[in-house]
């Protein structure tokens, strides 16, 4: 065995350790500076914390750079690299290995967090003397201290091996066969971590007692950025499951998927209800609670994924971080509940609602539904734990439960989403609603008829599709009026962008409904030349390629999908990994996807394969819908930023 580990390489690990240490010191320095200057009420000293923030960010950049260098240069003297990378890993996956395992993913978390905190410090540098901003920064820095503390101690990513192996073990094969794996976690973390910023401002508002609407305006853009990243991250994750896992689905109500979904749900509720507070001054406690809950849920999700409390496909190997993360979660809960309890009396809102049939009424309904949705998901996720704690029974909560409970909520959400844009603030007269909702409702009805003509069936699915059409109709109506009045700038701004995002949600809903309700599948035992047919798609098994790729046996079936071309699903037997891993191949189109996967690794020297063929209509529209949602959110962000900047300058003068 080749011994290496002295010499230049070990420097990289040292560099990383140094970076983490610098980051940790920077965060602690920032916290101490802010605590002392807040306690002594010397606002002019707040500014010094920014310097510490830069120190922290510098440390984090150093640490991430060191890790990437280690990965790219195959420095197997680093424990993390040896355990998770190999020489043969392609460059893209080497880079992505940073977030492929527990310690590295925390490093990425910390890095993203430091980027956010730095960005906040820079954009608020002129207002840092404001106690609200200082408290917000302090809260964020405390979060930084916690996560950097994890990297310093229990989850040190820069451990070294005294004897460097010649080659590393490599990642779980599932994590290194699709480029989406390189983007999905980053987007997810941008979302997860991004909610730290509004959380900081919410805590600051509670602590300083400045519970008016000022802090909302300050955090608007940050919340939106976090939200859109999380949305995209979740959808990319779903897409990845679809393209890689081989069962043709994209969402399994797995605890870890739920953990990422929960903050999204509360976050979505927040970005809607915040509008009510801005416009009508209502729901202050509610909005603060939503933000606190969103952040608490991100930490809870991290705890679930990294403690081994719940079995899940996506789980990182169980680690000692469980108790620490749980303690941090408990701390957040204590702080949140105590703050709301303490300031609760001052949170009473000055606003009022005149009629349930109004824009704010629709927002309230939306919030009720989203919260319920989140509650059902949370309950479904932790219920087995609760039952086990009570009477030791082992129960499972799976798709039938989530489908049954969430379908009505989802349908109601679509309904509210369609009606809301046709409502006016304060109250809407029935006649006005009758006029405004007429065309959208007609479009909805037409969509239903169209769906029936294309062979859709079932009350739930058809109703969902009709409501999707209704949403598109009312959003488009809103956009058309805006554009007629104001040219192409009509689709920007929060309401324009929001409407675009709603159209995206409808497209996503179409894809989701069609692919879950109307998919067809078949399983064929085939020899070269055999044909099969599923849902009108002819497939011909052309040939089989059985080859060794290094130590791995890869069997590739070449299948001709009529009208689409040749696709080759594969199945690989890794010597280091128990059962074979199937790599599906998908013939995508905007009408339907033909999803091909090999069921089992064929016997050697046999040309007989078992192919599972799934035809899922409209799946592609889910990804298109996601893209539209992201685009809409960006449209909503862009002008918003201009406003805030103008405002802050105005205030600064």
């Amino acid at each position: 065995m080749l011994v290496r580990g002295t010499g230049s390489y070990v420097v990289i690990a040292l560099l990383g350790t140094f970076g983490v240490a610098v980051g940790f010191v920077g965060a602690i320095g920032g916290v101490m500076t802010l605590v002392s200057s807040l306690a002594s009420k010397r606002e002019e000293h707040h500014r010094r914390a920014i310097t510490w923030v830069f120190v922290m960010a510098g440390g984090c950049v150093l640490a991430v750079t060191a890790m990437e260098i280690g990965l790219l240069r195959d420095d197997f003297s680093m424990q993390y690299v040896a355990a998770n990378s190999t020489r043969a890993t392609p460059v893209l996956y080497k880079i992505a290995t940073l977030w492929g395992a527990l310690e590295g993913s925390l490093l990425l978390w910390v890095f993203v967090l430091s980027v956010y905190v730095t960005a906040v410090s820079i954009s608020f540098r002129r207002r840092i003397e404001d106690r609200l901003v200082a408290w917000a920064l302090l809260t964020m820095l405390v979060v930084c201290v916690f996560f950097l503390g994890l990297l310093v101690g229990p989850a040190d990513p820069f451990g070294t091996l005294s004897i460097a192996p010649i080659d590393g073990d490599g990642l779980n094969p599932l994590l290194r066969n699709h480029p989406l794996m390189a983007i999905h976690p980053v987007m997810l973390y941008l979302g997860y971590v991004g909610f730290t910023v509004p959380f900081g401002f919410a805590v600051a508002a509670l602590v300083t007692g400045r519970l008016g609407e000022g802090w909302l305006v300050l955090t608007r853009i940050w919340t939106l950025i976090a939200w859109v990243s999380l949305t995209v991250g979740i959808l990319l994750g779903a897409w990845w499951s679809y393209e890689v896992l081989g069962w043709g689905g994209y969402w399994a109500w797995d605890p870890v998927e739920n953990a990422s979904f929960l903050p999204w749900l509360t976050g979505t509720a927040f970005i809607h209800s915040v509008i009510v507070q801005e416009r009508r001054g209502m729901l202050r406690v509610w909005n603060l609670s939503l933000l606190l809950a969103t952040f608490a849920l991100t930490i809870f999700g991290t705890f679930l994924t990294r403690s081994g409390v719940i079995d899940s496909v996506h789980e990182f190997s169980a680690s000692s971080l469980g108790p620490l993360l749980l303690s941090f979660f408990a701390l957040i809960l204590v702080v949140s509940v105590a703050l709301v309890g303490w300031r609760g009396d001052q949170l009473r809102s000055p606003g009022s609602i005149d009629s349930p049939l109004s824009r704010e009424g629709a927002f309230l309904a939306n919030n009720l539904l989203f919260t319920l949705f989140a509650f059902v998901v949370l309950l479904g996720t932790v219920f087995p734990l609760i039952v086990e704690a009570i009477n030791g029974d082992q129960l499972a909560v799976g798709r039938p439960y989530f489908d049954r409970m969430l379908l009505p909520i989802g349908v109601a959400l679509l309904l509210v989403m369609g009606i809301a844009p046709t409502l006016t603030w304060r109250s809407t007269a029935g006649a006005v609603l009758g006029t405004r909702a007429l065309v959208p409702a007609a479009i909805g009805a037409a969509t239903m008829v169209l769906a029936l003509l294309f062979g859709a069936e079932g009350l739930g699915p058809v109703m969902g599709i009709g409501l999707g059409g209704f949403v598109i109709g009312s959003s488009a109506r809103h956009l058309v009026f805006a554009v007629v009045r104001n040219g192409w700038r009509g689709i920007t701004g929060r309401s324009g962008g929001g409407m675009v995002a709603h159209i995206g949600v409808s497209l996503l809903a179409f894809g989701f409904i069609a692919s879950t309700s109307f998919s067809e599948e078949g399983e064929f035992q085939m020899r070269p030349g055999d044909r099969g047919s599923v849902a009108g798609h002819q497939i011909i098994f052309v040939d089989i390629v059985d080859e060794m790729d290094g130590l791995n046996r890869v069997v590739r079936a070449q299948i001709h999908v009529e009208g689409r071309g040749i696709y080759s699903p594969a199945i690989t037997q890794y010597p280091t990994f128990g059962r074979p891993i199937a790599t599906p191949s998908v013939a995508t189109s905007f009408i339907d996807d033909v999803y091909l996967s090999l069921v089992a690794i064929p016997e050697e020297d046999s040309d007989m394969v078992v192919i599972r063929v799934l035809v899922e209509p409209l799946v592609a529209w889910m990804w298109v819908g996601g893209l539209v949602i992201a685009g809409g959110s960006l449209l909503a962000i862009v002008p918003g930023r201009r406003h805030v900047r103008a405002d802050s300058e105005e205030v600064g003068v």
């Binding site: 081989g246 069962w247 043709g248 689905g249 399994a252 109500w253 797995d254 605890p255 079995d311 899940s312 496909v313 789980e315 009022s352 609602i353 005149d354 009629s355 349930p356 009424g361 309230l364 009720l368 919260t371 319920l372 509650f375 059902v376 309950l379 219920f383 039952v387 009570i390 009477n391 029974d393 082992q394 129960l395 499972a396 909560v397 799976g398 798709r399 039938p400 439960y401 409970m405 009758g434 006029t435 007429l438 409702a441 007609a442 909805g444 009805a445 239903m448 008829v449 029936l452 859709a456 069936e457 079932g458 009350l459 699915p461 058809v462 109703m463 009709g466 059962r579 199937a582 089992a600």
Partner: protein
């Protein structure tokens, strides 16, 4: 004008309800053995693979359960019997659907209760909010505000 709206709404309601009736009529419960077996496999979790169901998993134990489900279905066993048999062999947590009785039924009851209770609360809240201050605009208000806004 108004008259025409009523007619249009009536047409839309008619078309929608016809479409929904047609949709629910076209939907049929599982009829063939294969469909029944499919349902059972789709709602049964693979005991070793963390959240994947038996239908989707390619673990050997999932394959074994699939084969046995087919076998038991063709023997004419009822769904409930097959589920109970698998739960006896692999533990209650192979069934993805929580039970309707005992403590497990709370997972159904609690969310529905919360939904009803929070809707009830919201109805109360609406009633309370509605008794808010009157906000009729007076000329005095306008002058104050315009004087405030002038400097900016």
């Amino acid at each position: 004008m108004k008259q025409r709206h009523w007619i249009s709404w009536f047409c839309i309601a008619l078309v929608s309800s016809l479409a929904l009736v047609a949709a629910s009529v076209a939907d049929d419960p599982p009829a063939t053995e294969a469909e029944r077996a499919y349902e059972i496999k789709a709602t049964m979790l693979c005991p070793v693979c963390d959240g994947q169901n038996v239908l989707e998993s390619n673990a050997p134990v999932a394959a074994a359960i699939r084969a046995q489900v087919d076998e038991l279905v063709s023997e004419g066993r009822s769904d409930a019997e097959i589920r109970a048999w698998m739960a006896r062999q692999y533990g209650k947590d192979v069934n993805a659907n929580p039970p309707r009785t005992g403590i497990g039924s709370l997972i159904w009851i609690v969310p529905v209760f919360v939904a009803v209770a929070s809707t009830g609360f919201l109805v109360f809240a609406f009633r309370k909010w509605r008794v808010g201050r009157g906000s009729e605009l007076s000329d005095d208000d306008v002058t104050i505000v315009s004087s405030l806004r002038e400097p900016t």
